[in-house]
């Protein structure tokens, strides 16, 4: 069980790298789905080990909202953005980004070390650093990616990372909090999707860097 959870964690961190390193929007979206499924898997394993129903519910919510609803939503709201623009532009080159992301992973392992020393279970020592790494790399993806959808995926990755760390720290989190977080994310995806759609209609691009000046000033 510990090994399976560790495997889920290892693959999770890989998909997080993929979110930073992927050039294609549709690929990033698929990776996000896989990432969410891995998170759900980890939650299921932890739920089985801690005999906690809450974690199974968390896994269910994750699968329902992040693996089906959000991708479906984005797919329909932004189908042109996803299919027509095959390449994502970003500030730094992809190898540089990947190296920085690797640095962030190492950083997160050192960050959580004092926490782990106080009494770590085998699950904690896998989920906590990887969750924190997901959080950091998601934030990093938001800063370097120049378009709206990849930035949204960055936010969602942060959220996934926080959940991954969360399920191992607090196995009996009130269900209310989980539900609230899940719907929060859904609303974020919906709002960002709609906004992106209308920005694209007006301006023709969602490159954030080009939106520094107001349109009236032309």
């Amino acid at each position: 069980m510990v090994q399976l959870n560790a495997l889920a964690g290892g693959l999770f961190i890989l998909t997080v790298f993929g979110i930073v390193g992927m050039r294609q929007m549709i690929g990033s979206l698929r990776l996000f789905v896989i990432q969410s499924l891995l998170l759900a898997g980890s939650a299921c394993i932890l739920g089985y080990e801690y005999t906690s129903v809450h974690l199974f519910v968390v896994a269910g919510i994750t699968i329902f909202s992040k693996a089906f609803l959000i991708p479906w939503l984005l797919y329909h709201l932004l189908s042109h953005e996803i299919h027509a623009r095959r390449e994502i532009t970003q500030v730094l080159t992809i190898p540089t980004s990947l190296l920085i992301a690797a640095g962030l992973v190492i950083c997160s392992y050192f960050m959580v070390r004092p926490l782990l020393e106080t009494g770590a279970t085998a699950f904690l020592s896998v989920n906590l650093p990887i969750g924190v790494a997901g959080l950091l790399i998601g934030g990093y993806a938001i800063t370097v990616r120049r378009e709206a959808l990849p930035q949204l995926l960055g936010i969602l990755t942060m959220e996934n990372g926080a959940f991954l760390a969360g399920v191992c720290i607090a196995p009996n989190l009130p269900l209310m909090a989980e539900l609230a977080a899940a719907f929060d994310v859904l609303i974020i995806a919906l709002v960002v999707g709609l906004l992106t759609r209308s920005i694209r209609k007006r301006v023709g691009t969602t490159l954030v860097g080009k939106m520094a000046s107001l349109k009236e000033e032309e």
């Binding site: 090994q3 290892g10 790298f17 992809i94 190898p95 990947l98 392992y109 896998v126």
Partner: protein
């Protein structure tokens, strides 16, 4: 003692005999996926046989490097075969002659001479392909090192025979995240080192787009045969390291009896067949990357291996 030497030589013979077969199977399967008929799986043998019976033409302007290189390319994988487990899971006679890094450096030596020979003749396409191979090579090298260091760190040894036992005892170790990541990184490495599809198209005939193939363009006759055979053996050896050291060290002969050794031959071929299936799926579902995207591919492999190291180190 003599038995171990005999077994070691058996390994070399197996690699020499079956390396072209694996390449033939891979080519055939790829063509079948594209709904073509494809060449026979024994085509590489026929090619090599034919080339050995042809006259060799060597440019007058070339130096000894050009003539020496085919032998080097041919012999390098054979030396590596002496070091790695191909058929047995206990160390053979030459196993302690060198560790995994030695194997890597011997393979790199073959590549080094191939590069020199490509530049030697002054053919415009040779140096271009050679410099590209070097580019892929130096991007692949750190991945190679880190994968080996991770593996050695787990096993506490750099000898491949000892390393292979560490991941499967107990069996749960197989699912260690660092093991999975190392496997993935090494698979990407095999693809890059052998010029398979996301990095290079081995069946392309357009010289300007070639990476790995254009190094051998100048060779004819026996030289070409040796280069071809050496290339097949390098592929076979890398697959052997991947399968027997990293992924599934099962099905190897564990006793000293000759029967077990013979039984190990079909088993290793079966394992390779499965891996070849996976490679065919990868090659058929991806397109070739543009040249400057290769650094991204290798960057991904590098980061994968670095994460494997980090997870392994911190978990300890």
């Amino acid at each position: 003692m003599t038995q171990k030497i005999v077994f070691n030589i058996m390994q070399v013979l197996v690699v020499m005999a079956f390396a072209p077969l694996i390449k033939g199977v891979l080519d055939r399967l790829k063509e079948l996926v594209q709904s073509k008929k494809g060449p026979s799986i024994f085509q590489p043998y026929r090619d090599i046989w034919k080339l050995f019976h042809k006259d060799e033409a060597v440019s007058e302007e070339s130096s000894w490097v050009f003539r020496f290189t085919p032998y080097m390319v041919f012999v390098a994988p054979i030396f590596v075969t002496l070091l790695i487990p191909v058929l047995t899971d206990y160390p053979l006679f030459f196993a302690f002659m060198g560790d995994m890094l030695a194997g890597g450096s011997i393979l790199a030596l073959g590549g080094f001479f191939a590069t020199l020979a490509a530049i030697d003749t002054g053919n415009p396409y040779g140096p271009m392909g050679a410099s590209r191979t070097r580019m892929v090579g130096f991007l692949a090298e750190p991945v190679f090192m880190i994968v080996f260091f991770t593996v050695s760190f787990v096993a506490g040894s750099t000898i491949p025979y000892i390393v292979q036992q560490a991941w499967i005892t107990p069996i749960a170790n197989f699912f260690e995240p660092s093991h999975v990541l190392v496997m993935l990184a090494f698979l990407m490495l095999i693809i890059a080192e052998n010029g398979r599809i996301p990095v290079d198209n081995p069946s392309g005939h357009f010289e300007l787009a070639m990476i790995d193939e254009s190094k051998g363009l100048e060779y004819s006759g026996r030289g070409a045969a040796l280069m071809k055979w050496g290339g097949c053996m390098k592929f076979f050896v890398l697959l052997c390291i991947f399968l027997n050291v990293l992924v599934c060290p099962w099905g190897l002969a564990s006793t000293g009896s000759f029967r077990d050794l013979l039984l190990a031959i079909p088993l290793i071929l079966l394992k390779m067949l499965i891996l070849v299936f996976i490679l065919v799926i990868i090659e058929s579902s991806l397109s070739k990357l543009r040249l400057f995207r290769i650094s991204e591919f290798m960057g991904a492999a590098f980061v994968t291996s670095v994460v494997a190291v980090v997870i392994q180190l911190i978990e300890m």
